[in-house]
């Protein structure tokens, strides 16, 4: 059971799943941490990322390395319309946002059904074959997913910690009013945070759709994952989302390889419920009383 080959497979699958999960969850936690909205339409944006990649890479033949970020950027820019029309109403209104954005999810998913029909498509793989590393045969496409995610996460980290806009964003997340009195343009900051969050989500959705399949309903799984990861790590905590994504990715890869997919779902849901009961603010989050 635990041969070198199977362990290698578990590790590489775990790493690529983690990469996608972290991207999905970071977008979710960013929207929650900064704007206090629970983005129930998260899966729909991931789905749109998948379709964008399908056209750019699958139909128009844009080179893969350009097509992936371009697809995500395209979705993020178009999503600004949704920011103006929908999200802006729900900033700082956590409960209303859950239901309202659920409505956005319905509208987006069924618009997609009307445009693209319900059947599943596949995005042609960009890289086939295996690479041999230290005696392990590793699938190239998974390695590419990991590389893309690492690059994007590094850029995100750089933006948040080393630029003025990142600083403004962290200040806004901590206290909206104080940030405004310090002269931070919070409207623009919110807009930047929104674009970044949707960019990462659409990117994750595109990679996810390429590994699995593309359909208007594919967003359900990323949404559930975002939920679990964000609860696991702590709502609104960025390092928490990264840690949660890695934990969930590797556990799921390990359990589903050796014990089957349903056991792995039971385990991850069960652990998260237990964690919520004992420590509702997650592994790396801060308790509500300390924050307020």
């Amino acid at each position: 059971m635990f041969t070198l080959a199977s362990v290698g497979q578990v590790l590489i699958n775990g790493a690529s799943l983690s990469a996608i999960y972290v991207l999905v969850a970071l977008g979710f936690t960013l929207l929650f941490g900064i704007m206090r909205v629970v983005n129930f339409a998260h899966g729909a944006f991931a789905m749109l990322g998948g379709y964008a990649l399908y056209y750019l890479w699958g139909s128009f033949g844009v080179p893969y390395v350009i097509a992936v970020p371009l697809a995500a950027a395209f979705v993020a820019i178009v999503a600004l319309i949704a920011e103006r029309l929908v999200f802006r109403w729900y900033y700082q209104r956590m409960f209303e946002s859950m239901i309202g954005l659920l409505g956005l999810n319905l509208a987006l998913v069924y618009s997609a059904v009307m445009i693209w029909d319900v059947y599943e498509r596949s995005i042609p793989p960009a890289f086939g074959g295996l690479i041999e590393v230290c005696g392990l045969m590793l699938p190239t496409d998974r390695l590419v997913v990991i590389c893309i995610a690492v690059v994007v996460l590094a850029l995100f980290w750089f933006f948040m910690t080393r630029t003025r806009h990142g600083l403004a964003m962290r200040a806004t997340a901590q206290d909206l009013e104080i940030a405004e009195t310090q002269g931070i343009d919070t409207v623009t900051t919110y807009r930047i945070a929104f674009v970044i969050a949707i960019f990462m989500t659409a990117l994750a959705g595109a990679l996810y759709a390429q590994i699995y399949s593309l359909s208007p309903f594919m967003g359900d799984r990323p949404l559930l994952v975002a939920f679990i990861v964000v609860i696991l790590g702590g709502m609104g905590s960025i390092p928490g989302a990264a840690l949660g994504g890695v934990i969930l990715g590797f556990t799921e890869s390990f359990l589903s390889t050796f014990y089957g997919a349903s056991i792995s779902s039971f385990a991850s849901f069960g652990v998260v419920i237990a964690l919520l009961v004992v420590r509702p603010w997650g592994l790396l989050g801060t308790p509500e009383s300390a924050r307020a």
């Binding site: 629970v38 659920l102 069924y110 618009s111 009307m114 609860i231 349903s262 419920i273 919520l276």
Partner: protein, 326 residues
């Protein structure tokens, strides 16, 4: 305000009871049966919502009730009223076991936990194939009793159950218990200091609500003559929440209006399923953005505006305030 309201309620109930005579087995009767079934779920969830907790596992509890009712009937051969009773008691027992743990959480964490709990229960329905029939479910659930085999007979049964459920919830919310429940939502600490056993109140509301929705599960299985996990997903749970939200979460009238709205609108837009879902989404967005109090709040807004116009017309009538809200 009091007696016209009562007359209105009596009129609506009479109309509902007389419906099968007007339209023996037509489209209206199907819609009315669905409305009555969903009234149970929506009003029972309203009870939980009034304590300040939004449960996204309500449909999963309905599933527990539905499967219990179906299995006790088909595998154990229990007679009809007993199997519905079992279908009410099992989810209530489950709620009694986990409620004291989950209801300690703040509202938003409770939403997330129940979302996951609903997924777990759905997984159990799908995976425990030897008992629940897996993803295909169980076919050939017999009618509750020969009298209830006809659409009209079944409608009266469901209507009776729905009215009973609404009456129970209304009784709880309008009495002293209702004020206790409202105090728990509005100020938990303060209520506790005033001697309200906060956790017990929450658990009691939760248990009662799950028992009621279990009845809906059992009746739905009789109605559709099969039961499968697809009816008990988080989407259905969200449906119950949406019914409460659209109608208004602050009074029992809210979920009732919400159910009528949510059930009839899709029925009248049958030909355009996707378009209807998109419209639905847009309505949700607009309602939540502009009227978080739901349609009830919108109605009282309109009445207030109308009252103000009437005031200026009459140059300052003193009685206009009485028209605002029940």
């Amino acid at each position: 305000m009091r007696s016209p309201g009562r007359i209105l309620i009596a009129g609506v109930v009479l109309l509902a009871v007389a419906l099968p005579i007007i339209d023996p087995k037509g489209f209206l009767l199907t819609v009315a049966t669905l409305i009555a079934l969903n009234l149970i779920g929506a009003t029972s969830l309203h009870l939980v919502i009034r304590t300040g907790h939004v449960s996204l596992a309500h449909a999963a509890f309905m599933g527990v009730g539905g499967y219990t009712a179906t299995l006790t009937l088909m595998k154990l051969g229990w007679p009809f009223p007993l199997n519905i009773l079992a279908g009410a008691l099992t989810p209530a027992l489950l709620a009694l076991l986990i409620g004291p743990v989950l209801l300690r959480l703040q509202g938003k964490y409770f939403v997330l936990v129940t979302f996951l709990l609903g997924e777990i229960l759905r997984l159990v329905f799908v995976q425990w194939a030897s008992v629940t029939g897996g993803a295909n479910g169980i076919f050939g659930v017999p009618p509750a009793a020969p009298i209830f085999a006809s659409p009209a007979g079944f409608y009266w049964l469901v209507l009776g159950a729905a009215l009973l459920c609404v009456a129970v919830v209304a009784r709880v919310l309008n009495g002293e218990t209702g004020r206790v429940i409202d105090s728990v939502r509005e100020g938990e600490r303060l209520a506790q200091c005033a001697g309200v056993p906060v956790l017990q109140v929450k658990v009691a509301a939760f248990v009662l609500a799950t028992a009621l929705v279990g009845v809906q599960g059992g009746l739905t299985a009789h109605y559709l003559q099969y039961i499968d996990p697809g009816a008990f997903t988080s989407v259905q749970s969200l449906g119950f929440v949406v019914m409460n939200v659209i109608g208004g979460m602050r009074s029992l009238l809210g979920p009732i209006i919400g159910v009528v709205f949510m059930v009839t609108m899709p029925e009248f837009l049958r030909g355009y399923v996707e378009m209807q879902q998109v419209m639905f989404g847009i309505i949700l967005i607009v309602v939540m953005a502009a009227f978080p109090g739901g349609l009830v709040e919108l109605a009282s807004h309109l009445r207030a505006v109308a009252g103000r116009y009437a005031d200026t017309a009459k140059s300052g009538g003193a009685r206009s305030e009485r028209a605002v809200g029940p």
